[in-house]
Each structure stands twice: as structure tokens, then as C-alpha cells.
């Protein structure tokens, strides 16, 4: 797939439609996000590991006033870009999305709801993919079990802000998680459960289920469980699935009455 992609990107570059390509570059065995501006560099392009490409696009578009870029996107990256666009953080007109699908292993690891973008440029998307229901075990718990579970999990937090920093949907300049009104400064672990509840609530209608937060967490807190449960709630309560539909606004901020 990698070779096929490189060929595709070379053609795209040659067309002159884009000023560069946002993708991962392999350097000394490490991958880093990179803006490929020259076809010769494409040899170093790599696809793994997963990386929140939408955040890269957001920062890059912010820097440069008018240029158009191509971006190599997985399903989650595309969802993130859509949500960022709704919040005016990226201009989709300035991006050419080059969609790639995830393989089964990757998809399973993320419990991804849709491990492929809307248009797959290269590779073949998984057929009949059904994500694992990671919320199931938690929904079945009694209230006190849930409380004990999260008490145990969230006590591991060392407030490194890795979950927030990795999150492609976190674009605020000031973060409420650093506001001493809500989250006491100089206290570890953060008071249960305000830090994680605020973060989860802020992601309601926003989380696109990329799993970056959980991967970033050094304490292995199953953050995606909370986010997934809220994603389900948003769908159940309002029929809203973040990352889909370019026009749908997060119902939490619209004027309509709840049905």
C-alpha cells in the first residue's frame, strides 16, 4: 500500500494542485509529522504508527495564509478534520484528503467505529467491520462498581495532560483543566473525578474516537471507555455522531429543544 500511496502522491504533487503533503516521515527509525514539499522526499514517507494528523493540519493551516495541502488521512483523521472545520479551526477547502484505510489489527486496537475515510485513495477498506463494544462491560456494572472502578483508575492519573495534548479536538488556547477554579493546582492525583469529568464533557459531541488520549496516557487509564459511552449518549439523546456530516452542529450548543 505504501508504494502505491507514494506513486499517488507523486502524481498529486506533479499536478501542482497542492503546495505540499502532510504525512508522516520516517527518520532514524522514528516517525514524525512532516510537510513534504518535494517529490524526492516521498521515499521517507511512512504510514505507521498512528498519529493525529488533523492537529498537524490545524497548526499548519494557521501558519500559512492561503496555500493548499494534501493530507494523508485515516478514518479518524478525516472525522477530526470535519469536527475541526465545524469549529472553524481548519478550512477544508485548503485540504486535499488522501484517504487510507486501517488494517484489521489497527482497527481492532482502536476499537475504531469506522477504520477508513469516506473516500479511500489507495488500499482496500475492511469489509463488514464491526467494532468491539467497549462500553458493554461498563454499562452492565452497578453504580457502586462503576464508582469503585473509576476511583481506582483515575487515581493513577498524574495529570501529565497527555490525553489533552494528544487530542486532535483540543484546540483551545487556555484550557479549563488548568483553571484552578475547577482543578486544584499542585495536587496529585487530581481530585476525583472533576478533571476527567470536565474533559469527558468537553468532548461530548466532539470526540471522534481516535483513541489518541488513551494511547498517550502513561497510566493506562481506559479513557476511551468514558468517551465512547458519551459518544453513544450523544447519538441516543440527539442522534448526533461527531465526525460525520459536515453540516450538523453539536446539539449541545444549538438553539433547538431536545426531542
Amino acid at each position: 500500500m505504501e508504494q502505491e500511496l507514494k506513486a499517488h502522491l507523486k502524481k498529486l504533487m506533479a499536478s501542482g494542485d497542492v503546495a505540499g503533503i502532510i504525512a508522516l516521515k520516517s527518520e532514524r527509525g522514528m516517525a514524525k509529522p512532516y510537510l513534504f514539499a518535494d517529490a524526492s522526499e516521498l521515499e521517507c514517507l511512512c504510514l505507521t504508527p498512528k498519529y493525529p494528523m488533523a492537529s498537524v493540519a490545524r497548526l499548519l493551516l494557521d501558519e500559512d495564509g492561503a496555500a493548499r495541502f494534501a493530507i494523508v488521512c485515516r478514518g479518524c483523521d478525516e472525522r477530526a478534520l470535519r469536527e475541526l472545520a465545524k469549529r472553524h479551526q481548519v478550512d477544508l477547502d485548503r485540504l486535499v484528503i488522501v484517504g487510507i484505510p486501517c488494517d484489521e489489527e489497527m482497527a481492532r486496537e482502536c476499537a475504531c467505529p469506522e477504520p477508513f475515510p469516506s473516500v479511500v485513495a489507495v488500499g482496500t477498506k475492511l469489509e463488514q467491520w464491526e467494532a468491539e463494544d467497549i462500553g458493554a462491560a461498563y454499562r452492565a456494572m452497578e453504580l457502586d462498581e462503576k464508582l469503585a472502578f473509576w476511583k481506582h483508575q483515575l487515581e493513577k492519573c498524574n495529570k501529565c495532560y497527555g490525553c489533552r495534548n494528544a487530542c486532535p479536538m483540543c484546540f483551545c488556547k487556555d484550557c479549563e483543566l488548568e483553571n484552578a477554579l475547577w482543578v486544584k493546582h499542585g495536587r496529585l492525583p487530581p481530585e476525583f473525578p472533576i478533571y476527567h469529568m470536565i474533559r469527558a464533557f468537553h468532548l461530548a459531541g466532539k470526540c471522534i474516537a481516535c483513541g489518541e488520549c488513551q494511547r498517550a496516557c502513561p497510566s493506562d487509564i481506559p479513557l476511551m471507555v468514558l468517551n465512547t459511552l458519551l459518544r453513544e449518549d450523544m447519538e441516543e439523546l440527539f442522534g448526533y455522531v461527531s465526525g460525520t456530516g459536515a453540516d450538523a452542529e453539536n446539539p449541545l450548543y444549538t438553539k433547538e429543544e431536545m426531542q
Partner: protein
């Protein structure tokens, strides 16, 4: 703690409807249990998730939010955002193991003193049955 436990309810009431309804309960001398501590805001939609979570975090046994009836919001549609925000917050509380009944949203108009008093009565009873909030106990441990 030797003191008998009384549920602590933090109430966020919009100025135009529910707060006025609570005033009406007062002017009509209707009686209800003294558990609620009312904080006045102009619109229920002023109350963000952080404030509700903070109240629970600090040991509130329950949080009550009172706004205008659908269609009657003084600010046109603020109450609809409150409604949606609270619906999601209740789910979130439940996911973390906190009984969502501890967070209650009611529409009370400026004329519904009786409804306000009744709601307070019911809610105080309900919270008393639920017992102290588990977060309140944790808060005391920390202190």
C-alpha cells in the same frame, strides 16, 4: 461525624422563572425542607458543566437546576441548552457511578410557587433516600 446527616442541595435558579417561582413559594408561605441553597443566575444556561461537577466534587449531595418552561425562556432558547447539557451530564454522572437522580432539572414558572415547594419536598426526600453522595464521603476523606 456526630451530626445527623441532612442532604445538601445546591440550586441554580434562573432569575426570571424558577427564582421568581421560589420567591412566590415564599410570599405564599408554602413550606418545604431547608436543604437547598439557592444560587441565582440570569439564565439556567449560564450554568456550565464545570459548575455542576464542582458542586458534586465539593460534596453536594444533589444539584438542582431550575429554568423557564419550554417556549418561555426569558432569553428565547437558553433553557433548551440547559436541558441538553443536563441530559448529558446525568449520563456522565451515571457512567462514573454517581446516581443521576442527584442532578435534577425542573421547569418552574414565576407563578408556580406551589410547584417549586412540591419539587423541593420531593427532591429532598429522594436525595435523603439516596443517602450521602459518595463524592461527599471522598471529599471528607481528603479534608
Amino acid at each position: 461525624m456526630a451530626e445527623t446527616w441532612n442532604p445538601k442541595i445546591v440550586g441554580f435558579l434562573c432569575n426570571w422563572c424558577c427564582y421568581a417561582g421560589a420567591d412566590m413559594a415564599g410570599t405564599s408561605r408554602m413550606k418545604y425542607p431547608p436543604n437547598i441553597r439557592i444560587i441565582r443566575v440570569m439564565c439556567s444556561s449560564r450554568i456550565n458543566a464545570e459548575m455542576v461537577i464542582k458542586a458534586f466534587q465539593m460534596g453536594a449531595d444533589a444539584v438542582f437546576i431550575g429554568g423557564c418552561h419550554p417556549g418561555d425562556c426569558h432569553y428565547v432558547d437558553g433553557n433548551y441548552r440547559t436541558q441538553k447539557r443536563i441530559a448529558v451530564l446525568r449520563r456522565l454522572l451515571e457512567h462514573l457511578g454517581i446516581d443521576p437522580r442527584r442532578l435534577r432539572l425542573e421547569w418552574v414558572s414565576a407563578a408556580e410557587g406551589e410547584k417549586f415547594a412540591q419539587t423541593m419536598d420531593e427532591f429532598a426526600k429522594e436525595v435523603a433516600e439516596l443517602g450521602p453522595s459518595p463524592l461527599a464521603a471522598l471529599q471528607r476523606e481528603v479534608l
